[in-house]
């Protein structure tokens, strides 16, 4: 089963390798990992999608918490806002271009580059939506595709925050 972990870490060199090293060393499988700084420039936030049973996820969480540079680990539910971004370069001749644009519009994707024989489409969404667009475009000829890992944020007032006043991690 897939689990999404939101991980706050110190924004320091070497932290990414510590986290990714931990996964390979302990035999945990990462589906995707995305990282960037937060509203506090000292803190980065990683979104890690892990595939595993409850035991594995518990172990991942505990081992991550054990890393000194990890500030907080939280399990983000499937009902949260989850987004990935993909750029897809697809073959597009004058005969097929309009049809592709129409498909892109249905997916609320954007055409970000156009040339005689190619279109580049930018799409944001969860992995299922991206997979669906990919499926629709496949017959036209996908020449290149690049996608980010998932990032996720809880809905409503729920959030992953480092609480300065709180004594316990």
């Amino acid at each position: 089963m897939k689990h999404i972990l939101g991980v706050l870490v110190e924004n320091r060199p070497g932290v990414l390798s510590k986290v990714s090293g931990l996964f390979s060393r302990r035999g945990f499988n990462i589906e995707s990992l995305a990282v960037g700084i937060t509203e506090n420039p000292d803190i980065s936030r990683m979104t890690i999608v892990v595939d595993g049973d409850d035991y594995t996820v518990e172990q991942v969480t505990k081992q991550l918490n054990k890393l000194i540079d990890v500030i907080k680990v939280a399990n983000i539910g499937r009902e949260s806002v989850i987004r990935e971004l993909a750029l897809i370069k697809v073959k597009a001749t004058s005969a097929t271009r309009n049809e592709i644009i129409e498909i892109a519009n249905i997916f609320r994707a954007n055409i970000v580059d156009i040339s005689k024989n190619y279109l580049t489409i930018e799409i944001t969404g969860d992995s299922e939506k991206i997979a669906a667009l990919e499926d629709m475009l496949r017959d036209f000829g996908i020449k290149e595709m690049v996608r980010t890992g998932a990032i996720a944020i809880d809905r409503g007032s729920k959030m992953i925050k480092y609480d300065e006043d709180k004594e316990e991690k």
Partner: protein, 555 residues
């Protein structure tokens, strides 16, 4: 105040109360050595950096302080690795300082460059590559804090040569506050209450102590707990010393090579109180069967250990001593002696080592040592059969007096660790039980021992074999022995003489008592070589079954 980065480092060590460091100089760490030369810190020159890390670890174990080892960059740093990993597996607080090539050269594969923070990442608690010399005072303070608090472990400081040589405007380090690192010392009160309830309701409680009990200095609390709830106490290899062997409630070492009574009691218990033990694969033969039918209470300061190897019913994250003190305030007394009388019977089953017709019986040597050594003597072991025999037959009475590489099982740990132990506790008798295989792994440290006049009493169990592996070949590979006979051992007595160490050989069992007396009374380092029967075994290995009647009864 203006000073060099290297001076700030040494000043930091002094501020942490460091009196002794173990190391080996080299080009990239020269600046630090130049400052050490004028400091009050005593530097012990080892013969291989691995020895420095083990010695720091031995020192840390007997003193409870943080051990410090120093090496140069590249090969000096990689030689430390085995020692760092050994300390990590046994949760021993050490700070390792390595020289590094100048910062401007880092990443260019220059002479004696190695990414040591990267290489040691899996088995350090934390590491620093110092980039700004102004950070040095704070980093040193943090390193000692991280190494010694929570679940202790090794911390590495990698110091580039130019950073050590640059001048800074020294400022006192501030208090250590690491927002992402705040170990929990006090166990959850609600969980403590649950444990108290489980104790009162139990009929067959057993306490298992691990290395965490020694780190936490929790022996008085554990003794009180055991006596009040009438629970027998089993120990992991790392926990030996946490509970006095002479105590009537002590069962002995548990696990694969453990004492019959300890394993039997664990198998039949209805309440297992596991304290500061990770219940690793050598302690628990069949993790899925461990504590079957029993309520398992697990108290550990490291949340990641709880539920990792064995299932737990009542987990408590916290320091053993602090948490037990809370538990002892509760009404937990039990007055049921029935369980103990049953356990008492199992204690009569003793595991031997097999017939010894072709050399000395190792059990006799250890028993003779135990009979003559003072109760507070420190026993260091190396790794192999002799380690298991020592764990099984030597009655350790006090915490921090039994040192062994339990987690990593590092052959060669013994001699340097014993040197570190002797320098940490110069007034105590320090004895090393080693083997002909283990001793030769870090043999060069004999010179360190002589140079430091460290009066380590070495009992060399020579069976001309890598006994543990030979025994595995005997039982698991149908006696297809291979590469386990040490064909060309040196004459250890003559070798010792070459180092200026007194040494003698013991071949007859009637000489054992006199030999032990000579070892203990000699004022200085000394080696007694005991010619052990090569076929002496640690077998029978526990199969982790409920019925262990197949175990041979000897004596």
């Amino acid at each position: 105040m203006k000073m060099l980065g290297a001076q700030a480092l040494v000043k930091g060590l002094e501020a942490e109360g460091v009196e002794i460091v173990f190391g080996y100089p080299g080009a990239a760490i020269m600046q630090v050595y130049d400052v050490l030369r004028d400091s009050n810190i005593h530097h012990v020159l080892v013969r291989n950096e691995q020895g420095a890390a083990h010695a720091a670890s031995g020192y840390a174990r007997v003193t409870g302080k943080v051990g410090v080892c120093i090496s140069t960059s590249g090969p000096g740093a990689t030689n430390l690795i085995t020692g760092i990993a050994t300390a990590y597996m046994d949760s021993i607080p050490i700070v390792a300082i390595t020289g590094q090539v100048p910062l401007s050269m880092v990443g260019r594969d220059v002479f004696q460059e190695v990414d040591i923070t990267g290489a040691t990442e899996p088995f350090t608690k934390y590491s620093y590559l110092v980039k700004d010399p102004n950070d040095i005072p704070q980093i040193v303070k943090e390193a000692f804090y991280i190494a010694s608090t929570g679940r202790p472990g090794p911390v590495l400081i990698d110091l580039p040569k130019d950073v050590a040589a640059s001048t800074i405007d020294y400022r006192e380090p501030g208090p250590v506050f690491i927002r992402s690192y705040r170990p929990t010392y006090m166990g959850h009160p609600g969980q403590v209450k649950r444990v108290a309830k489980a104790i009162v309701e139990s009929k067959r409680p057993v306490i298992c102590v691990g290395g965490g009990c020694i780190t936490s200095s929790a022996s008085p609390e554990i003794i009180e707990l055991a006596e009040r709830i009438k629970a027998p106490v089993a120990s992991t290899l790392m926990g030996i010393g946490a509970f006095p062997s002479g105590h009537k409630l002590y069962l002995g070492m548990l696990g694969q090579h453990g004492i019959y009574a300890a394993n039997r009691a664990i198998n039949e218990a209805d309440l297992l109180i596991v304290l500061g033990a990770r219940m690793g694969d050598r302690a628990v033969v069949k993790p899925d069967k461990f504590g079957q039918g029993a309520i398992v209470v697990h108290i550990d300061i490291d949340p990641a250990e709880i539920g990792k190897n064995v299932g737990t019913n009542i987990p408590i994250v916290g320091d053993i001593k602090t948490t037990l003190r809370e538990l002892l305030k509760k009404d937990i007394d039990r007055n049921d002696w029935g369980w103990l009388s049953k356990v008492e019977k199992w204690k009569k089953v003793r595991l031997g080592v097999g017939e010894c017709n072709d050399g000395l019986n190792p059990m006799e040597v250890i028993e003779a040592l135990a009979a003559q050594a003072p109760k507070d003597a420190i026993l260091v072991t190396d790794v192999g059969q002799h380690q298991i025999w020592a764990g099984r037959y030597y009655p350790v009475e006090q915490p921090r007096t039994f040192l062994t590489s339990g987690g990593l099982g590092t052959m060669g740990y013994g001699l340097p660790a014993a040197i570190g132990a002797k320098l940490g506790q110069p007034d105590k008798q320090v004895m090393l039980i080693t083997g002909d295989g283990s001793l030769q792994m870090n043999l060069a440290e004999l010179a360190t021992m002589v140079q430091e006049k460290a009066a380590v009493k070495i009992l060399l169990f020579n069976n001309h074999h890598l006994g543990m592996v030979r025994e595995l070949q005997q039982h698991q590979l149908g006696e297809r022995y291979y590469q386990t006979r040490m064909e060309c051992n040196p004459d250890f007595v003559k070798l010792a003489a070459a180092y200026g160490i007194e040494a003698f050989r013991v071949e007859n069992s009637d000489e054992i008592d006199e030999a032990i007396k000579r070892l203990l009374e000699h004022d200085g380092p000394i080696i007694g070589e005991f010619m052990i029967d090569p076929m002496a075994n640690v077998f029978p290995v526990s199969r982790g079954d409920k019925d262990e009647a197949h175990i041979r009864r000897i004596s």
